[in-house]
Symmetry: D2
Subunit: 353 residues, 4 copies
């Protein structure tokens, strides 16, 4: 592998994305976890915090308090796995200190500060950093990511939605104004904070929609889809909570520009778009994605289903929200920023069952 | 209560709908379970078959083989909880024997024999019985049900979908040609047959769409929605499998005829439609239905969500697929056929958590 | 039923036991829920708090702040569903105000104040009330409960354990010094407080033991088993967390005094003990209890399994921790205190699946 | 790694252990999956059978019919993942053909043919192969395994039980006649056959004991524990079904020979026994194992809990039944048989959550 490992830091190790990053970094051939931080848990070893890390060398790492100077000195690249609002200032400091940064929060995803401030309800203090941030969807923006100092790691729902729609929109197959994204997510997407609504007994053996018309991933999806379509568009985006740990399935309803277009042409467009991107798997005709088949992986599984009676094209897109939708994608972005192939350390088979 | 109880029979006690019917009939003030049948389990007591019935008088009932003559002699009304194809002949015999019948299978739901034969792949041998069958959705057809000898109990997905759409379609608020029903169901909807696809390890901690473009409830939904709309329509109907025992949530996307229509007008239309139907609960603004809040009940919970940016109206409709979507609705139909209020014996609070 | 309903109050409506009490009281023929209280939720209707109560008359009840004087004036009997420590003072005030009380907390379960103070870590301020409290296990103490003003409603684990062991201990069949209770509980037993350890993603698809050697139900179990055995005994009691909403299964290992005792004699002892107690179901030989078969019910299902190779008798005991293990038992106790049969309003079949 | 990869075959790829073996072999540095077989699925590619293998080179492997000659020619070592009874003849043929064999069935686990025939109800036709088979628990028998042509891969419950008890029994700390193993397993242990008892709706949100006094792993556990203790012993062994995909937790109750033995001495005995076995993790005092922390891994996590009031030592042992309890252990055995360190290709962190 690389002669000397790339030193990476992880700010915010106590949440689910921090936990997943830790898991992925253990298996990475070129990154070495140099610093992990957590304000509450500083002082104890990683394996005391995460019993599943007992027996791994990284388990002996002692959790530090998050300080930009220390991180910048000890790391080539830092992952920020902290809540929105908390990331922006730290990112700027780390950039100033010479570090590359992958920010898993929403702080640098929305190019328009006003949109950010409206949806997230806080001021954006880092206009300069925002201006240089690159949206980190490797299949679409690999070159820009490779040159970026600061990558805004996409949200989980946007990742599933954009990858599902990209070929159809980019190749002008569907009507941009008529898109519905019906998305369903596992509970880890709500984070590890102690909230009644995330309790086992409030989620198990049930199902519900939530945040209709108000989900913060809406402007992010629309920003990116508008950029692909070349004009502003609005989508109907609904989110539901699945009683599963991980995974997102988005069922996307679109209207074909030409209802008579042979289905093979649509499939070919998708196959061509993702020909060089092995982590997007276009399923064979007749197969539909399942959350478990991407569990713990960086894959995005996509199926296309024509609905000739209504002129619609239905697109199903499945990812693991913690891996492809957060930490795995962060690793892919870091790989690109460090000159490695994006999938380095990410080829794992799903844990089934 | 009624001075002498109404004697009811249950054909097909071994499946989940038979099990649920048994549970509901235990609590019914006017029906007395007189005969239960099962070809495989004949000879043993109900409580041997269903341990949860130990200690209830009905638990001592001995399961009989299904014979029309015996059933007709011993019962005023018979519930058929057998697979499609197996119900139609038996229903005709029971009618001939003087029994009323509620058929929980699909055999009498589709008025057009040819449509039935196309979607279910078998011939329909009971044209006469089909001609007199009434579609058993109590909120829409109470009067006809009350006069019917034979009731075709609706499918679970159609129940959730039609109740969700009825006011909007009947009052001409939405464009009938632009309806998408994204439905999610618990696993009991697949029945109790031993199939690999229904195994715990194939369903737990995962989620998937299934049967896209091919689900047999499609023609049933379209038949009823077309009747309401007054003209033939086609819907996009997709089904997904939730890792829960019971429950359906349908997220329905519609397009308003007049996007400028005040939302209050839409709510009022729904409130008026269901004013006399207490088992359809229109949720207060801001509340969304959850499967657990209708678990084990006859309620259908509905929420309306405007999507002004796209001109859509999103309708959420939740039921318990085994109770409202099958056995509870069968009891409600039997109530009507026997001159009782439809909700007799059906007012139970959900088991939460 | 009773010519004028008995007015009952419920203090602490926001937790799972309060929720379950509400559900059970809706179906009760003689109790009328007159007052419900919650400090945080005062002012809103019950149905706003619990959407599954929409459509029930009790749903219109407005949640009040908990005040002893108001409760005492408006209620004949009050259920206290508040944390230990918070119940004791309120119970004394209500007794002084002329109310009967069923306390679902642990405050009056341990007859020895010092034991209470040691295990619960707080002082006991109500020695007088403690002295008159009766331990509310209806199968064992119906007469005393019927005369009691204050009933200490048993813990969930003790209920399953004591009912499982009572006949064997009372009839001197087993060695009191050699009892192991390996108990497994659903997550609702941990309450509705927002704790990371009760989050869906920390519980789902996993299993763990907890609180070994330190569970507060240990002294309660030992107090009651010692009373039955007629001498002090210590048990090995371990608790595990199941990824289910409700239910406890206790697998109890005992050693027979006479390993040669015919198994029929043991069964007969159990059958005799519970002959007049229909809510304890002794399963037929070869059948084992399952949590789902008691879900939502007041039943305790018991199976006896001889282990002739080791001279042990294995006892399996299953209950619903929220119903039999808390709120259902509270209703049974209130029934007895009010002169009603203990099972009044509690005969419901399990919701399966 | 090794200059030319070791060619391995997998007979019986359609079950859960076959699936798990496939997953593990993908990540193995020295083994190359050369042949996979399945009678029913012959002719299709592995990735058609297992969608989660799309994109992996092994996914293109075409499933073959199981023929000993072909397997022997193409493979250095073959894994048998077929039901008991079906393995024994095939194993003998493969040995004759010059292959090494790891048999995941029970056919070669019980050294005494009569015991096998009594518990499994079929005749054992391969006395010669049985005589040379080595019981494949790497921590106990690494040297013999390294020399073995045929390894009998242990059952899942025996693996958790024996690893939990080995140090205490071998070092004479507990009374061999007083052992109770209360074990709980995920549903994948029941295999992938379509059985009603394994359906989602029969397992989800419930819990039950099963097969009490009759589980086939009993003689296997007793054979191995007797060998360690140096004299025949009988255990009380009970099994329960958890609503989880994977994982076993065994709660083991033992009685100390010397109740006054300082707990540190017991811990030290365990630490010494497993000092050179990094895949058995003795948890720090105060920590208890959880199924999720070994999910998908080869680890066995063990905690020791003294119960001074009763003189018992409680041992908790957690494994992943499919990985450590079946396929992972099979890989470890194959590693040893091929001269590799046992953990080769098996160091993975658990997928949490």
């Amino acid at each position: 592998m690389s002669p000397s490992p790339i030193r990476v830091g992880l700010v915010g190790v106590t949440g689910y994305t921090g936990m997943e990053l830790t898991r992925l970094l253990l298996a990475h051939p070129s990154f070495r976890l140099a610093v992990v931080t957590s304000r509450q848990e500083a002082g104890q070893s990683l394996s005391a915090l995460y019993p599943f890390l007992q027996g791994f060398p990284a388990g002996d790492l002692v959790v530090a308090a998050p300080e930009a100077a220390t991180l910048a000195a000890a790391c080539d690249l830092v992952f920020l796995a902290v809540p929105h609002g908390a990331a922006m200032g730290l990112a700027a400091e780390l950039l100033a200190g010479g570090c590359k940064v992958v920010d898993l929060s929403a702080d640098f995803r929305l190019r328009d500060r006003a949109v950010y401030e409206k949806w997230y309800g806080i001021g954006h203090t880092q206009a300069e950093a925002l201006a240089e941030a690159v949206y980190g969807l490797p299949e679409l923006y690999a070159e820009a990511i490779a040159r970026a100092r600061l990558v805004a790691n996409p949200g989980c729902y946007p990742t599933a939605s954009i990858l599902g729609l990209y070929p159809a929109l980019a190749q002008d197959l569907i009507i941009p104004e008529d898109i519905i994204i019906d998305a369903k997510s596992g509970v880890s997407g709500a984070g590890r904070g102690p909230a009644v609504t995330s309790l086992f007994c409030e989620v198990q053996d049930t199902f519900r929609a939530y945040n209709l018309g108000a989900h913060r991933h809406t402007p992010e999806i629309e920003q990116e889809l508008s950029a692909i379509a070349g004009r502003p568009l609005a989508v109907s985006f609904t989110t539901h909570l699945l009683p599963v740990n991980r995974g997102i399935l988005a069922t996307i309803y679109t209207r074909l520009k030409d209802p008579a277009l042979p289905f093979e042409r649509i499939r070919d467009a998708y196959a061509a778009s993702y020909a060089d991107h092995p982590f997007v798997r276009l399923l064979p005709a007749g197969k539909l994605p399942e959350i478990r088949f991407v569990r713990g992986t960086f894959f995005c599984d996509i199926a296309l289903v024509p609905d000739p009676r209504t002129g619609r094209l239905i697109i199903l897109s499945a990812i693991d929200n913690l891996c492809r939708g957060a930490s795995g994608q962060a690793v892919a972005n870091a790989n690109l920023q460090c000159g490695l192939p994006p999938g380095t350390g990410l080829l794992q088979a799903a844990l089934v069952p």
